[in-house]
Amino acid sequence: MSKAKKMTGISRRSVLKGTAALGAATAVTGFPTVWAQNIKNVTLRQFGTGVSNLNDVATQVKKDLGFTLEMTALDTDSVTQRAATQPKSFDIADIEYFICKKVWAAGNLQPMDTNKITNYDKIAGTFRSGKLTPTSTIAQGTAPHTVGFVEGPNSRTFSAPESGWMTLIPTIYNADTLGIRPDLIKRPISSWAELLNPEFKGKASILDISSIGIMDAAMVCEAMGEITYGDKGNMTKEEIDKTMAVFTAAKKDGQFRAFWKSFDESVNLMASGEVVIQSMWSPAIAAVKSKGIPCVYQPLKEGYRSWGGGLGLSANLSGIELEAAYEYINWYLSGWVGGYLMRQGYYSAVPETSKAFMSADEWGYWYEGKPAQDEIKSPQGNVMEKAGAVRDGGSFLERMGSVVCWNSVMDENKHMVRKWNEFIAA
């Protein structure tokens, strides 16, 4: 391991450099207008998965803040790769919390001073104390608050929550479940175990991103009663082996039609009817529905698998770029983006501020789980639901309150990845 330290020495130096600049820049935080003219020339390069790297956001940034935001959308694995290995290629990393656990130690990101985040106090409890409501229990896996803070500006060690130095500013999160085609299944689905039901032989799919796929697989195996896990978010070698054995057997029996790796693939599989039940992400459901094809994000009795994303700052940012980045983050939490994303079915990290950017009906439908009064439209203006519809799974508290595990990185990650590869090759 001493060799590992040696290698990462260079990036640590750049972290120090970045944080020194951060200290110098704090003096002018209160007066963003001082920078107003110069900031127009700033270009921030952001990358992340397709879920939140939306051109509409870049357009709105130009309008509201005046500077340019360049977006690059990549698949989950490429996002990890870039965050860990190409620090010079980005200013803002839009990554998931479980990826943060992987890449933070590489030293390519700098923590953020929570004093400079205007709406810090309004950020949902899940990302600060870990508890959605004071009485909630914390789900298994890499819960965001466990990797959400570090000890200080130069630290590489995750710390107890609310240290004042945040690794990622939470932006969006959601509770994931299985997507189904109710018109082709024609009966109620209520358990994760249905994914491996022989009834759907050749019509099921699971996502081929090992760290997320293994969690879906674990949800299924647990629901089938095949395996009882100590902690699904941090499985033992035996648990991993058993889980993959169940799925390999199903694969050999022809249970799966395909595996998908990117958002669009999951949409195509579902919309074309190649697959009727599969792991899916919320906006993919919306995309299928907007084609006029019925698709349900089915709440299941065992609960949800959840994930959260956030914006991290490159260690290379300093001076005016860093100021612009803080302004961007404060703007991100101020409501416009939140409202936009909530109308796609995600949740915003600061729900309160998004409310102002949504109609009462939209807020009622998406957040409170109330029946829609009128047509519910996507941010692009496509009709997604007719009046009277109720969101699958209900309100924010019902859905996020039923989360049983978070996307995670396990101690046995290397073993898990090998087993996953064997499953794919089987």
Partner: protein
């Protein structure tokens, strides 16, 4: 030539070195250096977010003992063999038609260019366009159902080994057509006339004159097809719906998961396997004579 032989010798020595140095430089920079790097990295160690210098045989130890390696190599070789058989059949037929049936040179060139038209688009696009065609509710299935050949859609058309091989043949057949056509054009036509005068049938001419003389072309095409299929990962992923693994896919997965040393080790083993296959193929034909 008549000048002082000693001086000439030393001068030509220098100019020889100068003459080969650009090639040495290019090969060194773009072939030797990257491969050396890959070999070195394959002995390094890694964790979730970084890889670091070490000298470990772990990567190879796992690779050479894992069942998954055997499975992926068998699968990849299956793809190679099937693709090769169909590419030879298609390539030879097309080249034969162009070289011997089409009489005028302008016509031959025109038809040959038409063969290359599909290759003006990206191979990813050519591959992906098969997906809506072969799908459960795709054009192929709906046509077959409406004609009454089948009642239920054929599931194995898409996301299967069939689909992978189909896409491979579509993508790489031209790599067989070109060298085979090239060698066929160089066959002296008088040999065929001579064979005919000697009383050979069409079949005998084909077996005893054309095929032996076309062998170098077939072998060059085969080398293209074999190396392309051995190293492919994207076609296998898309056409099998992510359900088949080739050696290339394993490497691409390892890269995606930041396991560069493991990927490097897999790449070294793949390189050795491909070199071994090519050295066997080279035994069948003298490439130098052909070039």
């Amino acid at each position: 030539m008549l000048r002082n032989p000693k001086r000439k010798h030393s001068r030509s020595d220098l100019s020889n070195w100068l003459l080969v140095s650009p090639l040495m430089l290019v090969l060194g920079l773009f072939l030797i250096l990257p491969i050396t790097t890959i070999v070195i990295v394959s002995f390094w160690n890694y964790n979730e977010y970084a890889f670091f210098p070490d000298f470990t045989f772990d990567n190879y130890a796992y690779l050479l003992t894992a069942q998954v390696t055997v499975d992926t190599y068998l699968k990849t070789i299956k793809f190679v063999v099937l693709t090769w058989i169909f590419c030879v059949m298609v390539g030879f037929t097309v080249a034969y038609f162009l070289a011997f049936h089409v009489r005028s040179l302008p016509m031959q060139i025109t038809l040959f260019l038409i063969c290359t038209v599909p290759f003006w688009t990206s191979n990813i696009i050519r591959m992906i366009s098969w997906i809506p065609f072969l799908g459960r509710n795709g054009i192929a299935n709906s046509t077959l159902i409406s004609v009454g050949v089948i009642d239920e859609p054929l599931e194995w058309l898409l996301f299967s080994d069939f689909a992978v091989v189909l896409a491979f043949v579509h993508l790489y057949a031209l790599f067989m057509v070109v060298p085979v056509f090239n060698t066929m054009m160089r066959i002296d036509r008088t040999l065929i006339e001579a064979a005919r005068d000697a009383g050979a049938s069409g079949w005998q001419i084909m077996m005893n004159v054309i095929i032996p003389l076309t062998k170098p072309g077939i072998m060059i095409g085969s080398i293209f097809v074999v190396t392309l299929v051995m190293g492919d990962f994207i076609t296998v992923r898309f056409m099998s719906g992510g359900q088949s693994a080739s050696v290339g896919r394993v490497i691409s997965n390892e890269i995606a998961l930041l396991q560069y040393p493991a990927a490097a080790a897999s790449a070294v083993v793949l390189l050795i396997a491909v070199l071994f296959m090519i050295s066997i193929m080279m035994r069948f034909v003298d490439i130098r004579k052909e070039l």
